[in-house]
Amino acid sequence: MNVAAPQSPFLQWLYRGYMLAFLLYLAAPLFAAGMFAFNDSMFPALPWNGFTLDWFFSSTEPKIGMFHDRRLLRGLQNSLYIGVIVSALAVAAGTCNAFLFERKQFPAKNFFYILMIVPLVIPGVILGISILVFASMIANGLEEAFGIEWDFLRPGLFLVILGQFSFLTTITSLVIAARLRKFDISLEEAALNLGATRLRVLMTVTLPYLMPALFSAFVVAFLVSFENFNTTLMLVGSDAPLTITMYDRMVKVGSTPVLNAVSFFLMVGSGALALLSVVVQRGKE
């Protein structure tokens, strides 16, 4: 008997109903966004004009499918590029932070730990504007004082990567540190005791142990980077990632069902990726 559960059948039934309603609530907009990708119409709205895959594969006007839409593809490419770089950086920095806070003792550690968490609770827009402002201050300063032009400090891929990195690193640090905390330090000592060098211990014992966390931190960072809007919006230059491209398309051109097609594609893609990370995490535990 599960004492945590309601005992009367009526309440149990009611509770299940609530859960079902909740799951429907979660699924509804995704379903709607995905569904109209297959509507043979120029607008993502009813009436239903029949099933089509044109919004994915058609190459003729007016229905340019997403796989023939240069700008969407370019946005996708930018997103992938940004996502991979920023996730790799965030995982690397997160690993360092995890070791720093789990393994090292130093003055004011608690204070620094709070600092490490803080980016998570700064609104994304503010991170975006503050980095934009700061980078511009430096760029302007350099230009005025020395005539040096560091264009990478202007909105563009580099700043987008920095902006996303600034808060993703907190997430990766927490994920990796959580796993490192569970690491039994005597495993390292055992390896050392068995004759391994420090580097070898790191490569054969510690990192393999952290692998699932590194992997899921990477996936989480990648997905968050991929869908990030608020921070990116303030920092984006001419190489816009997919969410920004989609947004621009939505408010400046018109939402044909091609946007639904992209949404559907993203849902399937990120769903698969998230599932993969869970499976990997499970398998290793």
Binding site: S186, E189, A190, L192, N193, L194, G195, V205
Partner: protein
């Protein structure tokens, strides 16, 4: 010839002295235990030998050569950790092969040695198993195999049975001793469980607050403790505070606090008439009925039946509670709580130690 020698080894953490000038020698091939309560510095001592802590002073010699400047991964001592520290991301074979690989031995040799050592610990053919598929006792043996395959001069074991459950622990005690016989390697074993130390060791060092109180064979420690601490820590004992009335010929007459007198062996040299002492008497040497040499009166408080190690709790007239070991309580001896009884023991079974201050 000694495999391991420690000489005035000390370790201070800031102002706190965890290990205080400890010296001992472990002869080749023997089973040496360090027994002491939690926090007395056992692990710190072992970690210094393994090279994970740098001694504040003193020297560690293995096979006669000082290893102080040898880094931990070069020392010829291997260690079995309290929670074993088997590598979860490697299978059994890889765990065992790890040290050999670090040494750069070739594949064929490694495979052969792994197979041999698995055989010796009684787990042939398990090389492909995952660590998580092993039972607690099997893990234990793999942890030992992983060290033994490297043929260390000394094997260090830090409370390796601590994590096992009661029944398994009983079995592993016997098995560990047998493994040591088989490998003929020097074992340095740490524990806070006196029964483990007594059961398995050739020699036991009793450690207290960073210092060694006594080193000796198990029987020695049990029967001839040199300090009150050892008398109290090794085996069960009744312990009463009192005052020495007179000392002569290695015998002390003790006035027990609260009333009553007894004669006991003088445990140490510092006992002087009038000085405070503690009297130790083991339950199993006390019997119901007036003793030939020492007798005290009291009331039976309760009977603690526990088969062969049953006890009678007697509240003595002086207020102290005495455990009386009564081997079998099969109803043949009829004693009921509340009865007034006398208890007795022979003078050579009591031991008095001086109390500082």
């Amino acid at each position: 010839m000694h495999d391991l020698q420690c000489e005035s080894l000390s370790k201070r953490f800031g102002a706190y002295t965890a290990v205080d000038s400890v010296s001992f020698d472990v002869p080749r091939g023997s089973f040496f235990s360090i027994l002491g309560p939690s926090g007395c510095g056992k692990t710190t001592l072992m970690r210094m030998i393994a090279g994970f802590e740098t001694p504040t002073s003193g020297d560690i010699r293995i096979k006669g050569r000082s290893v102080l400047s040898t880094p931990p991964n070069k020392r010829p001592v291997k260690m079995v950790f309290q929670h074993l520290a088997l590598f979860p991301m490697m299978n059994v074979g890889e765990n065992i092969a790890y040290g050999l690989r670090c040494r750069g031995e070739n594949r064929a040799d490694i495979a052969r040695k792994v197979a041999t050592v698995l055989d010796r610990v009684g787990l042939p053919g398990t090389a492909e198993k995952q660590v998580s598929q092993l039972s607690g006792g099997q893990k234990q043996r793999i942890a030992i195999a992983r060290c033994m395959v490297l043929e260390p001069d000394v094997l260090l074991l830090d409370e390796p049975l601590g994590a096992l459950d009661l029944k398994l622990r009983e079995r592993m005690k016997i098995e560990l001793k047998q493994l040591q016989h088989q490998f003929e390697t020097t074992f340095l074993y740490i524990t806070h469980d006196q029964s483990e130390a007594l059961l398995m060791s050739d020699n036991v060092a009793v450690m207290n607050a960073g210092e060694f109180e006594q080193i000796g064979a198990p029987q020695d420690l049990y029967n001839n403790p040199k300090t009150g601490f050892v008398a109290g820590f090794v085996g069960d004992s009744n312990r009463w505070p009192g005052r020495a009335l007179s000392v002569s010929d290695g015998k002390v007459r003790v006035a027990i606090d609260g009333g009553g007198e007894a004669i006991a062996l003088a445990g140490d040299e510092r006992i002087a008439a009038g000085g405070p002492v503690e009297l130790f008497v083991r339950p199993e040497v006390i019997s119901i009925g007036a003793g030939s040499e020492n007798t005290l009166g009291g009331t039976v408080e309760s009977l603690l039946f526990n088969g062969a190690s049953s006890r009678i709790l007697v509240r003595m007239a002086n207020g102290h509670l005495v455990e009386v070991g009564q081997a079998v309580m099969d109803g043949s001896v009829s004693i009921a709580p509340g009865e007034t009884v006398e208890i007795g023991w022979s003078r050579s079974h009591g031991r008095a130690f001086s109390v500082a201050g």
